[in-house]
């Protein structure tokens, strides 16, 4: 008995001694043998991961699973995947690294790009991730994912998996017509089911993408060193539309491209109803660049197109023989609105498409949109308003009112009739008057007038402008009365104004102009979009008298002291109408 006890004690004592020795040795090694630079690099990494962890959202959807998200705005907006929120439904509970649970509501959806925007409620000082430039990421860069793989984050703290960027500008085929990953980042950091929707961060903890997809094969749904993240560029380009509570669609050029025998990317098919056709693009034309990005392969074309929201107008450079043309094209929606709604609801299950079975798969493939729970918390119910064409109309009103307030606070002409004149850059003088009951313009070619109180869908005057008088009338109504004076006005999202001759000097210097808030009004039989800069000034108007024809495009310089722009450029399609150089009030009459 005693012997056995002594033996046991000896064993325990020896183990403790060994353990102490091991710890001792480790500590000594850590202090003495590690270079200061290495310790600094380690400290930087620890700090980056700590910062990123605070922005990681654990999304729980009960039996339907769950996933991850990443906070990008202090008032609680967080990005995640469509395929994460679809089974979760419009109301969800989200956990943060602080160990607390928050109610969250679905804000916007982009099913094609597999992106969703949610809003965590209850705070306006959430920690947020800073966006990095995903275009500067290169293979070999350190990166890490913060998320909720296998829903392990029962303590709400994210799991971190580190790796390198394996490839950039990757194209991954869609599942059916949705969940297409274009221009995405490929990483060997472990992306597993549950990581979906979480952030991918660079060495400095900046957000360079949202993880959402992985290549799986013979070992089932576990990581094999091949994961994909939606790029920060794409996320930023869709962010405005998502924040506006919309159901956002991706774009089509109305033309398909193929590789020619000599390796060029040429138009293989084109719709005659497309804007690209009206701008002159034809069969066999070589596509050189789109939205300022070079197109050298079919995949490169799909990569550029896949990161652009429907409705944007972007530059297209094409070549026919020795002739090179640069035009602005409007991108059409990829889906009919009802089609997109059906996909979200799950009425139409995304098929994999013929001939493309494994190996690619999406973690947690969704099937149907979960309906809102009957016991939806009051805080969520107050900000949840689903309507056709929108994911959550509540947030459209929020954004529309934000832009309206900015317009009301901006420099603008005083109330009452607007009367101004000046010279045309082409030649001659002009005079414009805009009032509640009459809009008129005097040009060297003659006078045009419009009574803006009736329907405007036939108001194409002055001839050749596509509806300049109607556009001027709506501009004044928005500026003086706000959206309330403009029929049905919604927040459309954000878009750049490419090729505006009136862009500020610092804007024209960059390849990508800044994203502007856009309001869309359906009023008096016409549709108008207003581009509003960050100062609340209207700097662009597109007005459609007929949805299938070219709009009247008005580009306005930022306003001077009297609230009026000093220059206004008007064009329709590729045809310039006139450039108005406005003379300060009291002169040029």
């Amino acid at each position: 008995m005693t012997n056995a006890w002594m033996l046991r004690a000896a064993v325990v004592l020896t183990s403790v001694c060994l353990l102490v020795t091991a710890l001792d040795g480790g500590a000594l090694y850590g202090v003495d043998a590690v270079d200061r630079d290495v310790l600094a690099a380690e400290a930087r990494r620890v700090a980056s991961i700590r910062r990123a962890s605070a922005t990681a959202v654990a999304i729980f959807a009960g039996e339907a699973g769950g996933g991850s998200g990443v906070l990008v705005r202090p008032d609680g907006y967080a990005l995640t995947n469509f395929h994460v929120v679809q089974p979760a439904g419009p109301a969800m509970r989200c956990g943060l690294d602080d160990g607390r649970l928050y109610d969250a509501v679905l804000v916007g959806l982009d099913p094609t790009g597999d992106v969703a925007l949610i809003k965590l409620l209850g705070r306006d000082d959430f920690p947020t991730a800073e966006f990095g430039d995903s275009d500067l990421v290169q293979p070999g860069d350190f990166c890490f994912a913060a998320g909720n793989p296998f829903l392990l984050a029962t303590d709400l703290r994210p799991s971190i998996s580190a790796g390198i960027v394996s490839g950039v500008h990757r194209y991954q085929f869609p599942a059916g017509t949705i969940l297409e990953y274009t221009d995405c980042l490929q990483v060997d950091a472990a992306i597993n089911p549950g990581n979906s929707g979480g952030g991918l961060f660079d060495a400095d903890g900046r957000l360079i993408g949202v993880n959402g997809r992985a290549s799986f094969e013979k070992r089932g749904r576990v990581n094999v060193g091949v994961g994909y993240a939606i790029s920060a560029r794409q996320l930023l380009q869709f962010f405005g539309s998502l924040r506006g509570g919309r159901l956002v669609d991706h774009a089509t050029l109305g033309a398909t491209v193929a590789s020619s025998a000599d390796g060029r990317v040429v138009v293989s098919d084109i719709l005659e109803s497309s804007d690209a056709w009206r701008r002159g693009l034809r069969y066999d034309d070589e596509v050189v660049s789109l939205a300022g990005r070079p197109v050298r392969t079919v995949n490169a074309f799909k990569n550029v197109l896949g990161t652009l929201p429907a409705g944007w107008q972007v530059p297209l450079v094409y070549r026919r023989g020795t002739e090179r043309a640069e035009v602005l094209v409007r991108l059409a929606p990829l889906h009919a609105p009802a089609e997109l709604a059906a996909i979200v609801a799950g009425d139409r299950r995304p098929d994999r498409g013929p001939g493309r079975p494994a190996p690619d798969d999406v973690p947690g493939r969704p099937e149907t949109m979960r309906p809102p729970p009957e016991d939806m918390p009051a805080v969520v119910r107050a900000v949840h308003d689903p309507r056709p064409g929108f994911t959550n109309h509540h947030f459209n009103v929020v954004e529309r009112d934000r832009v309206a307030a900015a317009i009301a606070a901006a420099r603008r002409p005083p109330a009452g009739p607007w009367r101004f004149g000046g010279t045309l850059a082409e030649s001659g003088d002009f005079r414009i008057e805009v009032d509640d009951t009459v809009v008129s313009i005097d040009l060297p070619t003659g006078r045009s007038t419009l009574d803006p109180r009736g329907e405007l869908d036939a108001a194409a005057d002055p001839p050749g402008s596509g509806g300049l008088l109607a556009a001027l009338s709506l501009w004044r109504r928005l500026s003086t009365g706000g959206p309330a004076d403009l029929g049905s006005t919604t927040y459309w999202g954000t878009a750049p104004l490419y090729g505006s001759p009136l862009a500020r000097a610092d804007e024209t210097a960059t390849a990508s102009p800044p994203l502007l808030d856009v309001l869309e009004s359906a009023v008096a039989g016409v549709v108008a979009r207003f581009f509003v800069d960050d100062g609340g000034s209207v700097v662009g108007i597109d007005l459609w008298l007929d949805a299938d024809a070219d709009p009247c495009e008005v580009r306005l310089a930022p306003p001077a002291d009297d609230g009026l722009p000093r220059a206004i450029v008007v064009r329709r399609g590729t045809t310039p109408f006139a450039t108005f150089l406005v003379t300060p009030d009291g002169e040029g009459r």
Partner: protein, 353 residues
């Protein structure tokens, strides 16, 4: 004569490589140490996408290859992808080239292709010393055919976790190569990875990613690479035309009695491979083999019976060292019987039955 306590390092466990990997990871972050971006950008230019036959489930029609000469020599894995008259290689610049098969090394499962081009960005194939366990490496390959045309192949980072003899199978068939491989801690046994380049943090070629194989002992999928020295031997064998003599199909049991190691008579179903006697003056005696030694492995592959020992020796190509591990008085002793003699005519055909 080297005495070991253990035969070989176990694959895929132990905290040893985790510690080593951590140490290496930290070192690479320090200022002045090359980051992987430049090495990837340079080395990836020499990794090509190989397309051939396949496309049915579980048998993809693509893999990877390494440009090993500026004149268009491409080293890749010998596989069913090459079972086609129409093998195409797509280089990093997106250009497509029809490839011809110059030859194959069936033992290492290597194939050498040629394309009609010059001035290409090749990786130097040198018989460098093996890199040590713990070396940080980058795997470059056409995995899952993610990259097409001029898109750069995929890069994965990893660490050489162990250097061990390959004990692997594909389906029920054992892999013909049984020499040392680098075991990697990153997943490289993906479709299309085979034939890809393993480079160090400076972009130097240290190995080639192996085919999709499972461990014969554990059944797990192996991520491993053939060391550069084996690639050099394989290319030499292909270029000299000697590789055909080494085919597995030709391998016959080899009786170590031919070099002076007389085994106990094969009386039982599973006669243990004990040494009965050692011929005086033979290479077995010079190597230090003694009577009553129990042979437990040949070139790191365990053998449990006299028959298995003779079969394993038979698998070794001519001129390869015949390395035996034997148990003597409770310790493991390594014996090198010297180069395996060439197989002559087949004088004892009846013995093989």
């Amino acid at each position: 004569m080297v005495v070991h306590r253990a035969l070989r390092m176990p694959v895929g466990s132990t905290a040893v490589f985790a510690t080593l990997a951590l140490a290496v990871c930290r070192a690479d972050d320090a200022e002045g140490v090359p980051q992987p971006q430049a090495a990837i950008a340079r080395a990836a230019r020499a990794v090509v996408k190989v397309y051939g036959s396949g496309g049915v489930r579980g048998l993809e029609g693509y893999q990877s290859g390494i440009l090993v000469s500026p004149e268009g020599r491409i080293l890749t894995a010998m596989s069913t992808v090459l079972d086609s008259a129409d093998v195409e290689c797509v280089l990093d610049d997106g250009t497509r080239h029809r490839a011809t098969l110059l030859g194959a090394d069936p033992r290492r499962e290597l194939a050498l292709l040629a394309i009609d081009a010059t001035g290409l960005p090749a990786l130097a194939l040198e018989p460098a010393d093996a890199v040590p366990v713990g070396t940080r490496v980058i795997a470059l390959s056409n995995l899952f055919a993610v990259a097409v045309g001029d898109e750069r192949v995929s890069a994965q980072r990893g660490v050489v976790s162990a250097i061990v003899p390959l004990q692997a199978r594909r389906g029920a068939a054992e892999a013909p190569y049984a020499g040392d491989v680098y075991v990697l801690d990153c997943t490289t046994n993906n479709p299309g990875s085979a034939g890809g380049a393993l480079v160090d943090s400076r972009g130097r070629l240290v190995g080639m990613l192996g085919k999709e194989l499972r461990s014969t002992t554990s059944g797990i999928w192996l991520s491993y690479a053939l060391p550069a020295a084996e690639l050099v031997r394989g290319v030499a064998a292909i270029e000299s035309g000697t590789s055909d003599a080494e085919t597995v199909e030709d391998a016959r049991p080899f009786d170590p009695g031919r070099v002076g190691a007389i085994l106990v008579p094969d009386l039982l179903d599973r006669t243990p491979p004990f040494v009965e006697a050692v011929v005086r003056g033979s290479s077995a005696e010079r190597a230090g083999l003694r009577p009553d030694d129990l042979v437990i492995a040949v070139a790191g592959r365990s053998v449990g019976t006299r028959g298995a020992l003779q079969r394993e020796l038979g698998r070794l190509p001519a001129a390869e060292p015949m390395r035996l591990s034997v148990i003597r008085e409770g310790a493991i002793v390594e014996i090198d019987l010297g180069p395996k003699p060439r197989v002559e005519e087949r004088p004892h055909r009846e013995d093989e039955r």
